[in-house]
Symmetry: C2
Subunit: 339 residues, 2 copies
Amino acid sequence: MKRPTIADIARRAGVSKGAVSYALNGQPGVSEATRRRIVAIAEEIGFNPNSAARALSGASSRAVGLTLCRPARILSIEPFFMGLISGFEQELAARSFALTLQVVATPQTETEVYRRWWGERRVDGVFVTDLRENDVRIPVLNELQLPAVVIGGPGDTGKVPQLWSDDAGAITEAVRYLMALGHRRIARVGGLPDLLHTQTRTRAFTEVCAALGLSEAVTVPSDYTGEEGGRATRRLLINAERPTAIIYDNDVMAVAGLSVAQEMGLSVPGDLSIVAWDDSPLCSLVHPPLTALTRDIAAYGAHAARQLLAAIAGEPVQDVEEGTAHLTPRGSTAPPRDS
Amino acid sequence: MKRPTIADIARRAGVSKGAVSYALNGQPGVSEATRRRIVAIAEEIGFNPNSAARALSGASSRAVGLTLCRPARILSIEPFFMGLISGFEQELAARSFALTLQVVATPQTETEVYRRWWGERRVDGVFVTDLRENDVRIPVLNELQLPAVVIGGPGDTGKVPQLWSDDAGAITEAVRYLMALGHRRIARVGGLPDLLHTQTRTRAFTEVCAALGLSEAVTVPSDYTGEEGGRATRRLLINAERPTAIIYDNDVMAVAGLSVAQEMGLSVPGDLSIVAWDDSPLCSLVHPPLTALTRDIAAYGAHAARQLLAAIAGEPVQDVEEGTAHLTPRGSTAPPRDS
DNA sequence: CTGCAACACTTAACCGATCAAGTCATCCGT
DNA sequence: ACGGATGACTTGATCGGTTAAGTGTTGCAG
């Protein structure tokens, strides 16, 4: 079955290709009557403009790209990215932009993918997640002048706009809440230490604990996997002076921590309080349900998509700090039993 | 910064555009020496063929599409799709095909997306998941002659090839295992009842239970969410003659079931054994870790991608039944306490 | 020495849009 | 009645590749 082109429409309407193009794109140069006739024919024969032809002659390919740099094993149960993608789609679908996805192994590979996408003119812009210190991707984006939005800063991104959430504020709220419950030994299982937002969180955690007089606030680095999160928890809990509360940098590690505690015969929240960061449905799924730092990931993604589309349209885009995640208390936090 | 084109290469190599095209595509018509010179120049200036131009003049856009038809809330913690996507990528990246993603609300919308993608020539083929009875997408795919692979049959898909796993075999193994442990009251919390593979599982479960003399085998339909899975579990467990083992159609519901059991004061596996279908890392994360029906989702996805790429290349593609999921016993199954 | 095939290219049409420039008819003010 | 502006189109170049058809050179058999 042959795909209809503007030439087909032009023939049926008895006008030229150019007129059809003007009519369908709402450009001046055709009368209202002709425009309506052309639009009607286009609808009737189910016309969709060939995106290749459009991208070739004009400007945009109406597609944006996202690279995911995590091993498959982690990706599959990491709720963050799918939440983000859902958010992107809300905005992208509305303006009929496509989302192109690529799973990669290293940030280095990501730069190669950006170069290829740019060279192939496959995407008009990209989402950049997991910002690192001296991130290798930033100079490439600036060099290519590829429109982009960084999700998760703040950092030194040159002219690339970024979007982040107030991690320091969120962790402060969590620590103060745990202190108010009576906790004095609070630990944290962090995400990948290379990531800039992990560093922000670690710094803020250390600072707020120091400010509040908690001397033993320790962050154990981890990698967002359940296994590592579980191991980190075990290491924390075998200490004589074990923490009475642990804050986790993602929900997967928090769930793993919960099951390690249970496996070690500790009751949650009696012996150990748990706070998860990012409140995916997973947190309400386990028993007890996890107290979590809640933010609307889909809204975050939608916001990023709006930023990216604006950048693609050539509008000035500013760095934005999204609202602070708020604490959603659930069954996994309580006053420590022996305090 | 201007993107290099074959015209740039041609100028530098002192040959025509056509020669460059032949050289870079491995076509005959240029000498080895010239080919090497051209390839070297292309590498040096970082040439990538404009995908729009290529798609326009030639055949393929070197992209395939995937539509995801689940609410955002479910998508974010449903490990299946991300696992599948990782599998797709293994094959696609190797042949530098891009994956275009779209989240949609209904199967009806999916058909519209297929039509648009096809009309826009945006993708060369699509992955179709969640096959339903009399699926509205199938006639559209056949009408458009859009290459596709259905993941999760078997069903009546006309000329569209499909790939499925032996659900009946898997569930038989699970039921026999539970019987061998001494269970006589086995229930199942099923996935979305519209989906063809859910129906296959339900039929097989009913049949195998009947064949083995389990009269009370009941399937409670659900929707893959934790909430519904938890509710279904609660409904099963408040019966006087409550089941001693439950098989869940996905891991999220199984985890929810586990926490409902714990919340009701039942011990797992003492009072209730739990088997999850699809063994994501989530199953090993909780306490006790869940016995699961394991299959390699990424390999499944990779296989599907190979099938789709073959279909796109015009090669004949046959329906394939992937291997049976095998049972991975973990801590959530044991002989029933009071039998 | 001729004829012809094989090779190594070049030329130019083509894919399906966009858009600047050109054409033609109509209207309007003076 | 005429010049000029305006509207409603058409024409044709263009984007960057692919590819069929054409061209010129070389080698070799007869």
